[in-house]
């Protein structure tokens, strides 16, 4: 018997949701390639998304929502009206954006990326936080199966929201080696890369913990005067403080705060980096940690939230609040190319578990399990 599964992508605004865009598209294409005989799919996305990813619209019957999705209120309304009407007769709908619309007719699967809005307060604006605080618990109760990107978030959902643990499953995101990677020479010229690179790509949100890394790097630079700290990623609420801290340590010459740069450049920076550092205080998955592994780069990650689980044997773990420990770990690695190479190789091997094919196979099983829970 063939069941039809709708995939709600109205939340996915092209160019604005960060790494989950690439990973969602890769998983959808992998799901198409997998072609499970018992499942049929229908995609519901904004016209802008369909235009940005014609390969998805070619692979699946796609209903185009005539809005951008940029306005949260508009999207919430669209999901409860336009989407609810079109999905009423489907066997299952997957809402991969963290919330389930309040009006829905078909049974659903929900992906919860993290519970940060419930656990921490600094990252989100107060309106958005209040909205999510009200919506996430209701959404989780409504879903037949809740998908989380890590065992860590799975535990938070079970413990924090009191959900039946049997309905919550962990499926890591799919992360593939990017197709477009900018050449080394080009990057060296464009970003003045003239020494071994410690890379941390992240928006300057407070929980990304740039300040600890900058403090640590002041000690690293004393021992490795040629080393560079390279910080791509958009501006968050801590941008000015991060810039000020770089000034205070007189590191303006050794830290490259690049802001938002093209994805191919970020990929190129991974492939030339000596070490990737992920000192984040909260990660539901930790995309930069997996990207470091995909590129075969040594990884130092915070010892909390999902990072230890994702880094596994390929990463060194450091207390995210202990700047001296970060300095010691980074300096030791910069001085030991053999160990960096071994960690990088371990990462490459480990990154196999995170390919989009694996993610797609898991999703197909999640759908079957949700369908059987009628």
């Amino acid at each position: 018997m063939t069941a039809t599964v709708g995939i709600n992508l109205l939340w996915l605004v092209p160019g604005e949701v960060g790494g989950s865009e690439e990973s969602t598209v890769a998983s959808l294409l992998a799901l198409h390639a997998l072609g499970p005989p018992d499942l049929r799919f229908r995609v519901f996305a904004s016209a802008a998304f369909a235009a940005a990813h014609p390969e998805v619209a070619r692979a699946f019957p796609t209903d185009r929502w005539p809005h951008s999705g940029r306005s949260r209120a508009g999207r919430v309304l669209g999901e409860s009206t336009w989407l609810a009407r079109r999905t009423a007769d489907l066997d299952l709908v997957h809402h991969a954006g963290g919330t389930v619309p309040s009006v829905r007719r078909a049974p659903c699967v929900l992906t919860v990326h993290d519970l940060q809005p419930l656990e921490r307060s600094a990252t989100h604006g107060s309106f958005k936080r209040a909205y999510l605080r009200a919506t996430i618990p209701r959404s989780v109760r409504a879903a037949r199966v809740v998908v989380t990107p890590s065992e860590f978030v799975r535990r938070s959902v079970i413990a924090g929201l009191g959900v039946d643990p049997a309905r919550v499953v962990s499926v890591p995101h799919g992360v593939d080696l990017p197709v477009a990677i900018t050449e080394r020479a080009e990057l060296e010229a464009r970003y003045r890369i003239d020494g071994p690179v410690v890379l941390y790509p992240a928006i300057t949100y407070p929980h990304k913990n740039h300040l600890t890394l900058v403090d640590a790097f002041a000690e690293v630079a004393a021992q490795h005067p040629d080393a560079l700290l390279v910080l791509p990623g958009g501006k968050g609420s801590l941008e000015d403080e991060v810039l000020a801290r770089i000034q205070v340590h007189r590191l303006t010459d050794r830290v490259r705060r690049l802001g938002r740069i093209p994805a191919a450049d970020v990929a190129g920076l991974y492939s030339l980096a000596a070490v990737v550092a992920v000192p984040s205080l909260y990660e539901g998955f930790g995309l930069p940690a997996v990207e470091a592994m995909v590129h075969g780069v040594a990884l130092v990650a915070a010892s909390s939230t999902a990072l230890p689980e994702v880094a596994g044997e390929a990463g060194e773990l450091v207390d995210p609040l202990d700047a001296s420990a970060w300095a010691a770990a980074l300096s030791a690695l910069l001085a030991d190319p053999d160990r960096r190479a071994r960690m990088g190789e371990a990462g490459r091997v480990r990154s196999d578990h995170y390919r989009s094919e694996a993610n797609a196979e898991c999703l197909a099983n999640v759908y079957r399990q949700a369908l059987s829970r009628a």
Binding site: M1, P36, D38, E151, F152, R154, R155, I158, D164, P165, A166, V168, V169, S170, V171, S303, S304, P308, E309, G312, E313, A314, E316, L317, V318, D319, A325, A332, R339, R342, M343, A346, V349, D352, H353, E361, C362, A364, N365, V366, R368, Q369, L371, S372, R373
Partner: protein
């Protein structure tokens, strides 16, 4: 007989030996007779001149004698299970589980005292702590061990899928003509068999019978009515039984890892297991997860697994694929990285 953690330790040692790079020397207590061949590590083992209990006591109370008296200088000492070997070298300690903190009534007073002492030494002294699952890692961090020192090195399986003739053979040897739900493991309260039996009974009118495999452990007697008990079976038979079963049920209350789940998955079994302990990590989405305290939920999962062929086929394929990623060579790589981290921290 040693259990899953002993088997896993021996298989890790063998995989590390095959991998090279790490030179291993075993240290044991003085034994009157050698262990059976199946339970001997593949590496050179030196004995310290104390009986097992005396050695464990001396190690944990006095932190002597140091292993170097038997081995000469070493770079790392690895306390593989429940006893903190004494050494001058940095310690890597395996914590398989911390069940004793959750269910002290399942342990003797002496057991609790040994485990508590081990945990205290590990917390204060271990450079690196390795656990087989995120569940055990979370227990370690909750017990006060510094999170930056705790790593997860999942166990593996080297099991080959058995062929159809083997499946036919065990069916005939054990006279299993109907579809069956299999439980394999020692009969003890932690394995939650009473609820599994009750769930099976609530299935009502099903074609499948319930088959229990494994030695008697301890705990209240189970009713035999409507249940086939095969007792201990050889490993080869067990593997074929996993492959033959309609469903393998393992709704254990608490596991440090849950090797039977992985081994059943390696045979492409449809597994129903617990959502609340390490088995959920091993299973991923390649099995049906249940709240092990909820008898109706266990019954419901058995029912779905027996009645929905698309679901069962998807689970069998996913189980084979997922189990193939759990290799002992991956465990060995992970363990070698833990040793390197311990050396680096010295």
């Amino acid at each position: 007989m040693p259990g899953g953690s002993a088997r896993a330790t021996l298989d890790t040692i063998a995989a590390l030996e095959a991998r090279g790079e790490v030179e291993q020397i075993g240290v044991s207590a003085w034994h009157r007779q050698p262990a059976p061949a199946e339970w001997q590590p593949v590496i050179d083992v030196r004995a310290l001149p104390l009986s097992r209990l005396a050695l464990y006591d001396a190690w944990q109370r006095l932190r002597r004698p140091v292993v170097e008296r038997a081995t000469g200088a070493v770079d790392v000492v690895h306390a593989t299970a429940h006893v903190a070997s004494a050494s001058k070298a940095p310690m890597v300690a395996t914590v398989h589980d911390l069940h004793f903190l959750h269910e002290p009534s399942h342990f003797t007073a002496r057991g609790i005292s040994v485990f508590s002492r081990f945990l205290a030494i590990v917390r204060d002294e271990a450079a690196v702590v390795v656990c087989p699952s995120q569940a055990t890692r979370a227990d370690c961090v909750a017990a006060g061990i510094d999170a930056a020192r705790v790593r997860v090195t999942p166990w593996g399986t080297a099991m080959e899928p058995v062929g159809e003739t083997e499946v036919a053979r065990v069916r005939s040897v054990h006279d299993l003509r109907r579809p069956f739900v299999l439980f394999a493991g020692t009969v003890e309260p932690r394995k939650n068999l009473a609820r599994l039996l009750e769930a099976y009974r609530r299935l009502g009118d099903v074609e499948a019978e319930l088959v229990l495999v494994g030695p008697d452990g301890w705990g209240p007697d189970l009713p035999d009515e409507g249940v086939r008990r095969l007792g201990f079976v050889p490993a080869a038979d067990l593997h074929a039984l996993y492959a033959a079963a309609a469903v393998v049920a393992y709704p254990s209350l608490r596991e440090g890892f849950g090797l039977p789940v992985l081994e059943a998955m390696a045979q492409g079994a449809v597994v129903v297991t617990s959502a609340t302990t390490a088995t959920a990590e091993v299973a991923g989405v390649a099995a049906l997860l249940v709240d092990p305290l909820d008898v109706d939920a266990i019954a419901g999962a058995l029912q779905r697994a027996l009645a929905d062929p698309d679901l069962a086929t998807g689970l069998r394929t996913a189980a084979r694929a997922r189990s193939a990623t759990f290799t002992w060579s991956r465990t060995a790589d992970s363990m070698a990285a833990a040793y390197a981290a311990a050396v680096g921290s010295a």
